[in-house]
Symmetry: none
Amino acid sequence: MSPRTTNQVKKIREERIEEIMNSALEVFAENGYLSSSISKVAQHAGISKGLLYNYFKSKDELVKEIIVKGLNSLIKDVKLHENITISEDQFVFFVHRSFKSIQSNLKFWKLYYNLIMQPPVLALIADDIWQYVMPFMNILINYYTKKGVENPEAEARALIAMLDGVGLDYISDPKNFPINEVEKIIIKKFK
Amino acid sequence: MSPRTTNQVKKIREERIEEIMNSALEVFAENGYLSSSISKVAQHAGISKGLLYNYFKSKDELVKEIIVKGLNSLIKDVKLHENITISEDQFVFFVHRSFKSIQSNLKFWKLYYNLIMQPPVLALIADDIWQYVMPFMNILINYYTKKGVENPEAEARALIAMLDGVGLDYISDPKNFPINEVEKIIIKKFK
Amino acid sequence: MSPRTTNQVKKIREERIEEIMNSALEVFAENGYLSSSISKVAQHAGISKGLLYNYFKSKDELVKEIIVKGLNSLIKDVKLHENITISEDQFVFFVHRSFKSIQSNLKFWKLYYNLIMQPPVLALIADDIWQYVMPFMNILINYYTKKGVENPEAEARALIAMLDGVGLDYISDPKNFPINEVEKIIIKKFK
Amino acid sequence: MSPRTTNQVKKIREERIEEIMNSALEVFAENGYLSSSISKVAQHAGISKGLLYNYFKSKDELVKEIIVKGLNSLIKDVKLHENITISEDQFVFFVHRSFKSIQSNLKFWKLYYNLIMQPPVLALIADDIWQYVMPFMNILINYYTKKGVENPEAEARALIAMLDGVGLDYISDPKNFPINEVEKIIIKKFK
DNA sequence: CATGAATGAGAGTTCATTCAT
DNA sequence: AATGAATGAACTCTCATTCAT
C-alpha cells in the first residue's frame, strides 16, 4: 500500500497516452480529422472529454503527436537514416519496407494523406514531414547520381511520387489494389 | 422599365453560376473544402450568402458540380473516351495531356485530392470519379495486354498510381517540382 | 385595339387577386401558414414573387384578406346577420349551414384553425374574428334566454365550442369523421 | 476537488431536463412552436443554446418529449386506461377530469392545439396522439353502445369534438370562458 | 405589368474548449 | 485523475422583402 513512485505514475501516464493515441488514430482514419469530433474520440477511447484534455492540450496537438509517432516508426522501419549512400540491395529493401509499411500501418497512412490534403491542418505537421522526407530525397538523389541517370533529382522525385501514388491508391481500396505486383513493377522500373 | 427577357435572365444566371463556381474553386483549393465556409465563398465571390443558395441547393451540391465540370473538362482534354485500344503515340499523348491538365488546372486538382481524402465528402463524388477512371483503366489494361507485359492490370494500376503521385506532389509544391523532367522519365518507363 | 378602360383594368386586377388568393389558400391549407414560403405560393399561382407583391403588400396582408373574404362568405351563408332573435327552425338552419360550410370550404377552415392556434399570427386576424363571432354569440344567448335554459351564456358558449370542436376534428380527418350523424346529434342536444 | 458522483451528475441532468422542458413549454405555449426560436427558449431557461442541445437532439425532439410527457400525465389523471367498460359515474368522472386537466395544464393544451394544427409539425406527434385517443374512443363507443343510443360511434365522436372545442375556446380566452357551467351542460347532455 | 436576382437577418445545429466538482 | 455540464463562436441554410430591368 505504499504510494506509487513517480516512475510508476509516469509509466501509467505514458501507457494511457499511447492508448488514447491509438484509439484516436482509428477514429481519425475512419472519418477524417476534421469530421471527427473530440467527443467521438473520447467516447471511442472510453474516457471523458475532460480527461483527454488532461493528456493533450488540443485536438491539433493530439493529431500532431500521432503523426510524429508514426513518422518516427516509419523511419525506424526503413532503416535509411544512418546512411547517405546505398547499394542496389539497400534500395530494393527500402522500397520493399515502404510497401510493407503502407500495408501494416493502413490507418496511419489514411490519416496521413487525409491531413496533408487539408492546407490549414497540413500547416501543423508540414515541418515534421519535411524533416522526414528530405533525408530520403538526398539518399535517392545520391543513389541515382551514382547510377549515372540523366536527371537524378527528377528520378528521385518520380520515385517518391510513385510511392505517394501507391499509398494513395492502396488506402482508397486496399482489397483490390494489387500491391505486391505493383511493388515488383516499381522495383524493376526504378532500380 | 420593361422586364428582362428570358434570355437576359438566363445569361445572368449562367454567368453568376460560372462566377460562383470559379470563386468557390479558389477558396476550396486554398483552404480545403471542410475548412471553407459558405460565408467565405460568398464573400470571395462578392455576393451574399443568400444568393449563393439561389443557384446551388447546398454546399455539397456546389462542390459536386465543380468536380463534375472539372472531370468532364479533363475527359475532353485527354481525348480517350472514344477509343478502346490505343497506339503507343496515343499513350504518350494521353500521359502528356494528363500532365498538362495538372499544370493548367492546379486549383481543380488541389480540390480533387482534398476531397478524395475525406471519407464523408468522398461519398458525394465517388460515383462520378469511378465513371471517369474506369474507362481509362480499361484502355490501359488493353494497351499493356497488347504490349505483352507480364501483369497488365498491375501495370495499369502502377501507371495510374504514378500519375496520382505526381498530381499529389506537384500540387503540394508546384514551383519546385520538376514536372517536365518527371514526365519524360515516366513516359520512358511506362511506355 | 383601343386601350383598356380603367374599369377593364380594375376588373382584370380583381380577377387576378381572386386567383392568387385561391391559390394561396390551397398552399396555406396544405402546409400551414408559417411553413408556406412566398416562393411556394407564387410558384403555385404560376406567377413571380415580385408580381405577388404587386397585389399584396406582405405575406400577412395576403393571409388576412383570405380570412376576411372567407368570414364574409360564411356570414352570407348562414344568413344570421340581419336578425337578433331567431326561431327554432332558424336555429336548426344555422347549425346546418355551419356544418355545410365546414364541408364545402374545407381548405378555408384548415387555414382558419391553423391561424388561430398561432398567437403571433392570430393577432393579425383576431379583430376580424371577433366581429364575426360576437353577433352569433348574442343571437344564441338571446335564443337560449327565450327558451328559458338555466345559463344561456354558458349554453351558447357550449354550442360554439361544439361547432369549433367539430370543425377541428373534421378537418383533421374528413374522410372518417361521421359529420352528418354528428350534426343530427348536436341538433337534438342543443335545439 | 473530487469528481462528481454518478448520482450527482444524474440529478443535475434530470433537473436541467425538467427545467428546460418547463421553460420551453412556456415559450412554445405563448408564441407557438414555429414562432419560438431555440435562442428564445434557451434565453428563457437562462442557459446557452449549446447546452440545450446537450440534453435534446433537436427542437423537434424537445417538443415531442414535452407532448409525450403531457399526454402521459393526462392518461394518469383521467384514470381510464385500465377499463374497457365504464359506469355512468366513471363517465362523469372522466369528463370532469378532462375539464380539470385543461384548466391545470393550460400551457400544455395551448401547445397541443398549436401543434396539431400545423401539418408539418403534426407529423412528429401524430402517432403518439393516436395511441392516446384510440383507447378513449373505444371506451366511449362501448359506453354509448351499452346505453343503447342510436349511433354510438357518432355519439363518441361528438363528445370528443365537444371536449376539443371546449379546449380550443378555453385556451383562447381562459378568463371569460365559463368552464364550470359548460362542464355541467355537457355532462347533462352527453351522460 | 412582370421578372427573379439580390439581400440580410435570423433560424437550427455543432463542437473545441473550459471548469466546477 | 476524472467527469460531463456549460459556453460561445461559427457553421449551413431559409425566407420575406426589395428593386433594377
